[in-house]
């Protein structure tokens, strides 16, 4: 079989560019794609935090079901997770307000503080999940 390095390189570059181009996240508000870069990035970040939270909650719940995490420990985790979830939703609302104000030409509020708070809260949940995860290794 004859090989053409140039063709392989060309296709590889095309694949890379296509992948890079497509992977950028997009958020919609009322069906409209958010065009504001900062808001779109904040939404993508919050969405990722929410996915991370969802995985952590699923994991700890499963560990509770198999007895590696006690009921009391789950309830403590739940309180922390509820606070983190509230922080994510507060940050989401702040960014939604930002998008609304920007669309009306009004001065936008600073949502970055809320996003940072949400991130910190989600990291706390992740830390606790990691602590519980260690039990599966010990077992």
């Amino acid at each position: 079989m004859r090989r053409s390095k140039w063709w392989v390189a060309y296709v590889a570059v095309l694949m890379l560019l296509t992948t890079l181009g497509c992977v950028s996240g997009k958020a919609r508000v009322d069906g409209t794609v958010v065009n504001d870069t900062f808001a779109a990035e904040a939404f993508v970040q919050l969405k990722q935090m929410d996915i991370t939270m969802g995985v952590a909650v699923d994991t700890v719940f499963q560990l509770t079901k198999v007895g590696l995490v006690s009921k009391e420990e789950y309830m403590r985790f739940d309180k922390l997770a509820v606070r983190a979830n509230a922080a994510v939703r507060t940050a989401r609302d702040a960014v939604l307000k930002y998008v609304e104000y920007r669309s009306q030409g009004l001065p936008a509020n600073d949502f970055n503080v809320y996003v940072a708070l949400a991130l910190s809260a989600v990291e706390d949940v992740q830390d606790l999940r990691a602590l519980y995860d260690e039990r599966t290794v010990i077992q």
């Binding site: 004859r2 053409s4 063709w7 694949m15 992977v23």
Partner: protein
């Protein structure tokens, strides 16, 4: 530049696969208003289920 039909077919198949994968990855657009709501529902459901579990000994 010359390459066999088989090579060309392989390249096109591979490229198509990559494009499909990249497009699937790119479908990350989501409703911003719903961020966090699914997790909230999940937390409520799990809390109820755990509350119904028998108390642990420790």
């Amino acid at each position: 530049m010359k390459f066999t039909v088989e090579e060309g077919f392989n390249i096109i198949s591979l490229f198509t696969m990559w494009v499909q994968q990249a497009v699937a990855e790119g479908r990350k657009d989501f409703d911003a208003e719903k961020i966090g709501e699914g997790t909230r529902v999940k937390l409520d459901s799990y809390r109820e289920q755990v509350a119904r579990m028998p108390d642990s000994d420790d």
